[in-house]
Symmetry: C2
Amino acid sequence: MELSATAKVILGMLAARPRSGYEIKQLVDNSTRFFWAASYGQIYPELKRLEKAGLISGTDAPHGGRQRTVFDLTREGRKRAEEWISRPPEVFELRDEGLLKLFFAGVTDAARTPEIARERAAHAHVIAGRLREVERSLDLDGDGGPAVSPDAGSLTTLRYGIELNEWAAAWFERAADELEQGAAEAAPAKTNA
Amino acid sequence: MELSATAKVILGMLAARPRSGYEIKQLVDNSTRFFWAASYGQIYPELKRLEKAGLISGTDAPHGGRQRTVFDLTREGRKRAEEWISRPPEVFELRDEGLLKLFFAGVTDAARTPEIARERAAHAHVIAGRLREVERSLDLDGDGGPAVSPDAGSLTTLRYGIELNEWAAAWFERAADELEQGAAEAAPAKTNA
DNA sequence: TTAAGCATGTAAGGTGTTACATGATTGA
DNA sequence: TCAATCATGTAACACCTTACATGCTTAA
């Protein structure tokens, strides 16, 4: 049985400790969401599949009358998770509408390429800001010292996200400047003094 | 009618000039593939949908007995394409298995985080190399001068891809060094002199 | 008492890949 | 003549999001 995208994130999240489907979703949403998302519609069915396959096992753990199932890795599940993590990465997919627009604007409306590059820069800036907030919330976690003490791996991915987006914002701003210059040189009549 | 992901890339590709489905696929594969992919299974059905919606129109253009349909934007299609390009970008999706592994390795096997970071660096390096080849093939296009003379927009996206991946490769190498140092400090007994 | 959050789940529909099928043309 | 490439298309399947449905608990 091949691990699906959702199976990978579930096994990884359970490697630290047992969790419910709901908890997994919350965790994904404020950690891996930017590079590996998952919805309820994927998580709950996948939990059942993984249990049937013997990689995880669920235990009833109600809160009062509120139903709750907590899943833990089986020995086999832990083996699979560790084996997966140790293999070199394969999946890398990107869908970047800003780049696509920039790509086409060169043909349809070269004059607006600088503007599009700046919009893409602004977008990167917003993402960097959101990630910075996550970082701050980790620093202040609880009420003083670092309550959860995020491990080195997750901190590294967070910093990567922040620095990557800041780099991209700067890059697109510079590209916009250059595109403006190029346009000015190519068509000086337009800015005729 | 909302534009699907494939509709966007088709309209954009047709903005420069009329093309067949096959040509669109080739173009996508050696230009936007890294940030906006499309398969035949999407392209051909989408061409039919777009024609039915009146955004493109097909003309028979066989090569000998080899069937071929070339599509062009209608006036309405061009309007939609330009309008789409002028709106700020919305879609930005990423699926990065290397980051996910790094994220989890902090918990399951902190000692291997540097190795995983280096694998991710190597991956970025490979992508940068492939894009550099595309860039070189543009320079040498045909047999001397730049035959196709890529426009500013597409050149910008290509350079972005190259520089982004080179930046990422360097970033992950540095992160690997730091993770190694951190591990050495946290568990000095292991490297006990 | 009521809103927010905890908790689980499914149905419908869209998106996308892969593999397959067909057949013509071109160059080695 | 044979492989590569041009060219179109579909069927099966996997993936994923959104919206909806249900019901409990906690704090305002």
